[in-house]
């Protein structure tokens, strides 16, 4: 019988996984700040952030996860990765066991290497498709958050959450399709995604291979196959009596399933194999090439001389060729005027910190964190016909002047974090004024909605004949925040519209501008009049 001690290990894993799930759901659906810790530790985005921004925090987090993996194995995949947890949940919910996933090192390494190479060249395409955190974010933002918002607003009408528009294509691209695919994979081959497709999993697997505390089968094993039956990663080879720690996801189901306590988690007892392994590692640490046979022997001993986990020369060659081809294809697609940049152009308005349309198009993974956290309700995910995975639309609000939540929460570095003063001068678009549509110009009525909302003073109402005040735009101060477009009352086409800019630059400083202007034309002082200096 499984002992309660080992069973509690699995319960602990489930509890930690549930906590991760809860915190990330709270972050995405409700903007709960504590959830950001769980977002921070997501490995794929942390690596992207570390590279794109040379972020020490991102590098630190990535290193921490690697150390954790080196010590305990791929526990990340079972307690920190939301997509891994979701797959466990789907498996548990459907009660159906697909066949165990096979071992496909070529495919696995190929995907990981292509991911890394493209990332080095500044293109997050593979993360966009396969980063578990980003895809989980997309699913929750489109499938869960709208329902949560509706429910919450019904329960708490005095503290309502922002109701965000969701285009049908967005729902399918980010929500329905990925969830259906993932569910199909789980039903077909359990956690095939984690052991084969996921670049994060593969990277961690390479470290987990050298874990100090491996999961292994002891001499008590009677080869009943119970552990192999429950393993969702297909990493137990009962015939060889071995567990492949590179693919083991640390779900700990085998600990629970084994009636003989033959699955152990920890150092192997001092035996010949361990001695050989220790010798091999020592040699590796010394970096001696002559120790190679010993290291190989040690690895063989550790993995039970399992040849299938090792790469043959042919596989290496094929892999290198594949990566080269992918890199060339990527460079061709990404070059200015290439397929992927042609569409990017200045096609839409991107969040502050995006840098340029092209940069943002290459780096955003579409995790939807910025969309869900936008206070102005202007960020939209792809699917409404505009280019870019995320862009701004000013039909429900404006980019709030004092808010920079999108750039501060972006986990991948696609949006550069900024100080508030820098964000308040970051030009994400340029207002375009059409006098032929403006009611103040055409009908001579007082309106001023645009100038009233403009946070920088780029728009002012200027006297234009007796009793007439019309908008006047100073492009040097305009940051394209949409504070003019949103309140403009003209329909169907507004007189104030924000046009995209190809590159984000800093607009002029309004403080300096107004101070200089007033040195020449000071504001009139309120007249001191009446008795005792009363103004009235």
């Amino acid at each position: 019988m499984a002992t309660s001690r080992l069973r509690w290990l699995r319960y602990g894993r489930v509890a930690l996984a549930a906590l991760t799930m809860l915190m990330l759901l709270a972050l995405i659906c409700h903007g709960v700040a504590a959830g950001e810790y769980w977002l921070e530790v997501q490995f794929g985005p942390a690596v992207a952030r570390a590279w794109q921004l040379f972020s020490p925090a991102g590098a630190g987090v990535a290193l921490l996860v690697l150390v954790l993996t080196l010590v305990l194995g791929r526990v990340y995949c079972s307690v920190l990765c939301p997509l891994g947890i979701l797959q466990e949940f789907i498996g548990w919910l459907t009660r159906r066991r697909g066949a165990a996933p096979g071992n496909h090192p070529r495919l696995r390494y190929g995907i990981a290497v292509v991911t890394i190479v493209l990332l080095l060249f500044g293109w997050s395409l593979c993360l966009r498709l396969l980063d578990p955190a980003s895809r989980f974010g997309g699913m929750v933002a489109t499938l869960v958050a709208p329902w949560y918002t509706a429910l919450y607003n019904r329960l708490f009408p005095d503290d309502m959450l922002i109701v965000r528009p969701l285009a049908l294509p967005t729902l399918f691209i980010f929500g329905v399709l990925p969830l259906l695919l993932l569910t199909a994979l789980v039903l077909w081959r359990r956690r095939w995604f984690c052991t084969t497709l996921c670049p994060v999993g593969t990277a961690l697997g390479l470290v987990a291979k050298c874990t100090r505390l491996p999961l292994r089968l002891t001499d008590a094993c009677v080869k009943c196959g119970q552990c192999q039956k429950v393993c969702p990663a297909g990493c137990i080879d009962i015939a060889q009596g071995s567990i492949d720690n590179e693919r083991c996801l640390r779900c700990l189901k085998c600990l629970d399933a084994c009636c003989f306590e033959a699955v152990a988690w920890g150092r192997r007892p001092a035996k010949a194999a361990a001695v050989a392994a220790a010798a091999g590692e020592k040699a590796l640490a010394a970096g001696e090439s002559t120790a190679k046979p010993a290291a190989a022997a040690a690895a063989d001993a550790r993995d039970g001389a399992l040849p299938q986990g090792e790469l043959t020369r042919r596989e290496v060659l094929v892999g290198v060729a594949g990566v080269g081809a992918a890199a060339c294809a990527g460079a061709a697609l990404l070059r200015p005027g290439g397929v992927l940049r042609a569409g990017a152009g200045a096609g839409a308005i991107y969040p502050p910190g995006a840098g340029s349309a092209a940069r943002f198009a290459a780096l955003c993974t579409g995790c939807q964190l910025c969309v869900r956290n936008c206070r102005g309700n202007v960020l939209r995910a792809a699917g409404d016909g505009r280019p870019g995975l995320v862009h701004l639309v000013f039909d429900r609000g404006m980019c709030e002047f004092n808010c920079m939540r999108c750039s501060s929460i972006c986990p991948t570095g696609a949006l550069r974090p900024m100080t508030l003063p820098a964000k308040q001068r970051c030009r994400i678009g340029m207002a375009h004024f059409d006098p032929s549509l403006c009611i103040a110009v055409q009908d001579g009525v007082d309106c001023g909605a645009c100038a009233e909302h403009c946070p920088t003073g780029a728009l002012q109402m200027k006297d234009d004949g007796p009793g007439r005040r019309i908008p006047s735009l100073n492009p040097d101060l305009c940051i394209g925040c949409g504070s003019c477009e949103y309140p403009c009352p003209v329909r169907p086409v507004r007189a104030m519209r924000v046009e995209p800019v190809a590159i984000q630059v800093q607009a002029d400083d309004p403080g300096e501008f107004f101070r200089q202007r007033r040195e020449h034309a000071p504001l009139p002082k309120p007249a001191a009049g009446g008795d005792d200096g009363w103004l009235l």
Partner: protein, 309 residues
Amino acid sequence: MDRRNFLKSGVATAAATAVLADLSTIPARADEAKTDGGNGGSEVVAVRNGSAVAMFRKGIEALGGMTAFVKPGQKVVVKPNIGWDRTPEQAANTNPELVAEIVRQAIAAGAAQVQVFDHTCNEWKSCYRNSGIEAAVVAAGGKMLSAHDEKLHYVEKSCPQAVSLKTAKIHQAIIDADVFINVPVLKHHGGAKMTAAMKNFLGIFWDRSFMHKNNLPQCIADCALYRRPDLNVVDAYRIVVANGPRGKVAEDIRELRYQLLSRDIVAIDAMATKVIGYELADVPYIALAATAGLGVADFSRITVKRLEA
């Protein structure tokens, strides 16, 4: 419950039902005498040189104290300007201490509940929080209401005597209130030239876009027809004199340390033009409102009581 009370409540319920049934149209000016001060003129109390709280205490005392406005058990709505995600020092919103003092005094006068809201221009939670008004009101015992959901918070009303704003969606709390205290901040305004008591009414309606499109000054004048305020307090402790109503830089702000109080929404705006230094004719909606009979804009018919705090 004895028979008498039963009958009383029955009659009251019937009357209330009748009134409610009639509410979808705003009745003609029933309380005109109240703003006229009895002799065809209006009274404005001006206080200066004190903190916003001290000036209010002085001013309300001159108007007979809060008990002259709030009776025990009444529902009170206080409507400050919370339009912008700006700090109190930036003077784009009403002084939070002033709002809190009004809430405190209304509660002390026996108000059953004091509610505070504004239909903000920036995202409402940021405005409520960063203006300092939410914290001050809650600490004073009032309740902040949200005002940003068309279906949830607004009811459609019509007003036949309005010139431009014939129908409008108005906040439910204003309809339900026994006492309505209007607490704007005085500012320059790019579109309407000046914002004070009347312009503050845009924050009790849903569709500002309609007003901007359909003769803004006339719509501002029409707004007050939907619900006369029982008391107006114009906060001019700090005022935005340029780049209003939001204010862009520190130089846009003057510390004047004034406060105006009046029952007459037109008279108080007329006097406010003097405080900020405009001509009456610069602010067209004041004359329009006077023509509509909402109050007195003629300086010779306005009595000003000047007080030092």
